[in-house]
């Protein structure tokens, strides 16, 4: 059964209460974020249907929003999501090489997940950190001024972590 914990559910109610009666749909994006966090890092259809039910809106109203924003994952993702920026400034500073390097190292292409379920590579548009290009977002943190070496180190660390 897909269901938020009591605590999360209260949080949902709190977010919904920010908007006037009948406008619960406004809470959709924050609630989707919570759902993605809670239910395995991506939005499966039953999860979105559950969100629709919570907000008393139609399922299709959830689907159209969720598929529009790239920060919502429509397929299962690995434990670590590598979101590499590929907008102008990062591109000029060599993000393509970084992306290629990650692909080679992990043996996956864009949007794919490694067989061990550890990594997903996902190119992203501007993450607002152009001064530190090339960069990527890893979970809730930014990794900046990326080089191939930095990427290798990062991946090795994460692999090691997973083993312990």
């Amino acid at each position: 059964m897909i269901k938020f914990s009591e605590e999360k559910l209260n949080k949902v109610k709190e977010v919904m209460a920010r908007y006037p009666e009948g406008k619960q749909k406004s809470a959709l994006i924050p609630v989707l974020h919570m759902a993605q966090d809670e239910f395995g890092g991506w939005l499966d259809t039953p999860v979105m249907d559950y969100v629709a039910e919570l907000l008393n809106i139609l399922p299709i109203e959830v689907y159209e929003v969720a598929t529009f924003y790239t920060m919502f994952n429509m397929k299962p993702v690995g434990k670590h999501l590598l979101e590499v920026c590929r907008t102008g400034p990062c591109m000029v500073n060599g993000c393509d090489d970084i992306i290629d390097h990650i692909k080679q190292k992990l043996g996956i292409s864009e949007g794919e997940t490694t067989p061990d379920g550890l990594f997903t590579l996902k190119p992203a548009e501007c993450l607002g950190a152009c001064g530190y290009a090339p960069m990527m977002q890893l979970g809730k943190t930014y990794r900046e001024h990326l080089t191939k070496e930095k990427v290798d180190k990062l991946i090795d660390e994460l692999r090691a972590q997973a083993k312990n």
């Binding site: 399922p59 109203e61 598929t67």
Partner: protein
């Protein structure tokens, strides 16, 4: 301006001066500096198109039956607020006209903009027009040509040719490589059908239409209404019949035969065969909408199972015969029986699916030639209580208002009807009403689709409508919400009625119907307080032992609140079959002839005798259930039935079959070898509605023209021709050739409310009766006075159904029958179309609580047993029904649901009580057998 694309209508004669039909105070706007009259609230697009024609402004995202959207900007025009003032480019389709403004629909800048937009659209389109199904009938092609595209200056973005076509569904198809993201399909699904299947997913070049969460049509919630396909300007969404292809010889407008909404259809014919069906946007009944039955379920018409030659039963076997032989056989037999036993040994059942003309001829044949009033029609088993009840209260048994009034009302009250399945196009309008948040009250034992959106759902126990009605009236009176003025001026019998109502024991009624009295009170107050409230009801009211009583209470509810006689109010039966209204109007009932005159009234008896120049009996004939009794008692020897499958659809099947098997002559006119036809002694192969002309009268009294689309299937004859032939054969002279024109002419002489009806003058949308001498129809009844003078309050108490009183101890469950959107009644037609791929068999709805009690899981076969018999049916576990209540359809002969229904009928009209059957259930031992698909 480089090129004039449009024919200019005459401009207004400068400023605000009258002339050219303009009122002196009319507001104007200037198009290319010349003044044109502006209508209140209209858009710039509508102003320009009204004066210059449709081609004056190109559009892409706009569609005739959808709200303006403003996404493509192809309709842009330049607008200035004063002459020579600053100019702004606006999308004309959703911008209201500002009176006094200056509009330039073809300025250079606008032309450039439009071209650029289309170029951008084309970067995202495959341009493989030559192999496209809508080539030459594509709005994108049209607009591209109109704005003068010669090349596309931008690099190709995406062709989307990698997108897979969706061919999963029985009817709907999609090929999203052809999609231009105009949103028309999404809006059609939302605004017209209210199904919310489609939307736009993704972004940028990847934006694409999604069905549900990226599922295919088959797995989506789509109800196959086809609105999106018709709305789509390209071939991106279409149907298996390629209804937007130009490969047709002609298109014929006719009327759907599947329900009382009476949708207009535009049938495309190619090489003498029906190719596809669309719906005309300008049709008053359906504005471009249909349900899947009207649009897609036509394949039955040339199905291999169609009967193509008359059959006479000899020694228990059907033997092929010519029409001559069949007619001879029938005529000889009928004469013999008539001479030996008298005309009353003969009876006819006409079809509410047939045309007015055919119904009229059938009753004429039975009355004038056979000399009996034993004529009835299937209205007996559905809406006869409506006719009788409303006649007693108001004087006329027909819908008081029009469907278009849904737009004008403030509150809808829907009782015992599941319009989104039974009357889908009206159902969609009611659903839109409820979704919009306006007050809607649903009274139904099932949580129907409409109930899910309603403000109030009174989920009563089956058979307790009268309890709820008494409660609602009680609250209206005790809260002082009655319309005293209306009651005093327009009604009679109120004081007595009021005392009866106030004497009701509300707590007892609450216990009977099982609905919280406070909820009933709130709903009653909402209905009474609404400035205009409109009532609708279906067979959930009529198919009960107290059907007629309930109708009279509903009529009282409308009168007590003054909701009769103006737009947006009234009592409106949702007519089941396409021509239930018409068959009653035409006199296919044993007590009233054409035009509803009592056959036993000496004045009218004489009138009919003179008109038909024949000797007629002056007493009532037999109603359908009485016919069966008479046959069992050897009083009835011959029966003639047009297109009704009583052996499957009438209650208590064993009883019916026994009765029919006893007949000496049993003539059945049919399309297919139905369960009833198998019992016939003579079968006459009939033509379907697509093969004949005539008129149908829909639920809002609208007499519409049915036009033959193709020639009759070889070997078949229209029911009208058969009637004419047999009358001639039996010495009652009629014109040789059946033609609706002369029949209608004759009808207009005897049926007062058809007085001004002429075949040639009916036009596309028909006319609503009464039609006066000058040919003017009527959209609202009882405006000044009631048909019977004053409206009459008639009270009755709730009475427990005999079925339950007698049987509820041993049979504690109540089963009620219902219908599915995809199938029509006995299913003889719809089961011979791809509809069977969508809904494959009958199901029994059962509440999870009851299911658990009997260890039944979804899909199990359940044995349902009533005092009359038992059937096995597949379980669907759902909380749409309350515990203790079951609900099932009866579309498939394999199940024979009517083996268990009772022949208890309405006390007044003898309409059978299909909706309340006492039964018991258990998990059945048998395996689930899939019915054989007939396609």
């Amino acid at each position: 301006m480089s090129k004039q694309y449009y024919v200019e209508s005459k401009p207004a004669a400068g400023g605000v001066i009258s002339g050219n039909g303009m009122k002196a105070d009319a507001k104007v706007a200037y198009v290319d500096d010349k003044p044109y009259e502006v209508k209140e609230g209209e858009t710039i697009l509508s102003l320009i198109r009204r004066h210059f024609g449709k081609g004056a402004v190109p559009t892409l995202c706009d569609a005739p039956n959808l709200e303006p959207f403003g996404s493509c900007r192809v309709c842009s025009v330049d607008v200035a607020l004063s002459k020579g003032g600053p100019v702004k480019t606006m999308a004309s389709c959703h911008t209201p006209v500002i009176p006094g403004s200056f509009i330039y629909p073809e300025s250079d800048r606008v032309q450039k903009l439009r071209k650029n937009i289309i170029e951008l659209v084309l970067t995202d389109h495959p341009l493989d027009c030559l192999t496209c199904e809508v080539n030459n009938n594509c709005e994108l092609q049209e607009v591209a040509a109109r704005v003068g595209i010669r090349d596309v200056r931008y690099p190709e973005g995406k062709t989307h040719l990698d997108k897979k076509k969706d061919l999963s569904h029985a009817y709907m198809t999609s090929d999203f490589s052809k999609c231009i993201n105009c949103f028309r399909c999404v809006r059609a699904c939302d605004e017209v059908q209210g199904q919310f299947v489609l939307s736009m997913g993704g972004r940028g070049f990847d934006s694409h239409i999604i069905k549900g969460m990226e599922v295919n049509f088959k797995d989506s919630d789509c109800v196959s209404c086809g609105a999106c396909a018709q709305a789509c300007p390209t071939s991106a969404i279409s149907d298996i019949f390629e209804s937007k292809s130009i490969q047709v010889d002609e298109k014929v407008r006719t009327v759907c035969t599947y329900c009382g909404v009476g949708c207009n259809l535009e049938v495309a014919v190619k090489g003498g065969k029906i190719k596809s069906i669309q719906a005309p946007y300008e049709a008053e009944t359906n504005q471009g909408h249909t349900c899947l039955k009207g649009r897609f379920a036509f394949a039955f018409y040339n199905h291999k199972d169609r009967l193509r030659t008359p059959l006479i039963k000899k020694n228990g076997e059907f033997v092929e015969a010519t029409w001559e032989e069949a007619y001879d056989h029938i005529a000889t037999k009928l004469t013999e029986i008539k001479n030996k036993y008298g005309g009353d040994a003969i009876a006819g059942i006409s079809s509410s699916r047939g045309t007015n003309e055919e119904n009229y001829l059938m009753q004429k044949f039975i009355r004038a030639v056979m000399g009996t009033n034993n004529i009835d029609c299937c209205a007996r088993v559905c809406h006869s209580p409506t006719a009788i009840g409303m006649q007693r209260s108001f004087g006329t048994g027909a819908a008081t208002n029009s469907i278009k009034d849904i737009k004008l009302t403030d509150c809808i009250l829907v009782i015992g009807a599941n319009p989104t399945d039974g009357h889908p196009v009206t159902g969609a309008k009611l659903k839109q009403f409820a979704i919009s948040g306006k007050t809607s009250i649903v009274i139904d034992p099932r949580r129907t689709e409409l109930a899910k959106y309603a403000t109030y759902h009174l989920q009563l126990r089956p058979g307790t409508n009268m309890a709820i009605m008494n409660m609602m009236l009680y609250y209206i009176i005790s809260e002082g919400l009655e319309d005293k003025n209306f009651i005093e001026k327009r009604t009679e019998g109120y004081e007595e009625f009021k005392q009866e109502i106030l004497g009701q024991n509300i707590d007892e009624l609450e216990a009977i119907c099982g609905v919280d009295k406070n909820l009933v009170r709130e709903a009653a107050i909402a209905y009474a307080k609404a400035p205009n409230a409109m009532e609708f009801h279906g067979l959930g009211v009529t198919e009960h032992s107290q059907g007629t009583h309930t109708i009279m209470m509903i009529s009282s509810l409308a009168m007590i609140t003054g909701n009769v006689g103006r737009p947006g109010v009234g009592v409106n039966p949702l007519r089941g079959q396409n021509n239930v209204q018409g068959s009653a109007d035409m006199g296919c009932q044993p007590y009233q002839g054409a035009g509803y005159f009592e056959v036993s009234d000496p004045v009218y008896h004489k009138k009919y005798e003179e008109f038909y120049n024949a000797k007629l009996p002056n007493y009532n004939g037999l109603k359908i259930p009485q016919m069966y009794e008479a046959a069992l008692n050897d009083k009835l020897k011959a029966m003639w039935v047009i297109g009704e499958d009583m052996a499957q659809t009438d209650p208590n099947t064993h009883h019916v079959v026994n009765a029919l098997s006893k007949l000496e002559l049993f003539v059945v006119q049919e399309l297919f070898m139905t369960e009833t036809a198998k019992l016939a002694t003579v079968i006459l192969p009939a033509s379907s509605f697509l093969e004949k002309s005539g008129t149908f009268t829909n639920g809002e009294r609208r007499i519409q023209r049915v036009n033959a689309v193709v020639a009759p299937i070889e070997g078949t004859k229209s029911d009208g021709q058969v009637m004419v032939d047999i009358m001639n054969r039996m010495g009652y002279k009629q014109p040789e050739l059946y033609d609706p024109e002369w029949v209608l002419e004759e009808i207009s002489q005897i049926v007062p409310f058809f007085e001004g009806v002429k075949w040639d003058e009916l036009g596309g949308d028909g006319k609503q009766w009464p039609v006066n001498k000058e040919g003017k129809g009527t959209d609202i009844l009882h405006t000044e006075t009631f048909k019977r003078g004053k409206g009459k309050f008639i009270h009755n108490n709730y009475k427990k159904s005999k079925e339950l009183v007698e049987n509820e101890k041993q049979y504690p469950y109540i089963i009620t029958t219902n219908r599915e959107l995809e199938h029509y009644n006995c299913g003889a037609m719809t089961r011979r179309t791809n509809n069977v791929l969508i809904v494959t068999d009958d199901v029994l709805m059962i509440n999870p609580v009851d299911a658990a009690k009997h260890q039944i899981v979804d899909g199990d076969m359940v044995c349902v047993e009533s005092p009359r018999g038992k059937v096995d049916v597949k379980a669907k576990i759902t909380d749409e029904v309350k515990p203790g209540i079951l609900s099932s359809t009866f579309h498939f002969p394999e199940v024979m649901m009517n083996n268990i229904t009772s022949s208890v009928s309405d006390s007044e009209a003898m309409c059978p009580e299909y909706k309340v059957v006492a039964c018991n259930i258990r998990k059945s031992k048998g395996e689930y057998k899939k019915p054989k698909a007939t396609v």
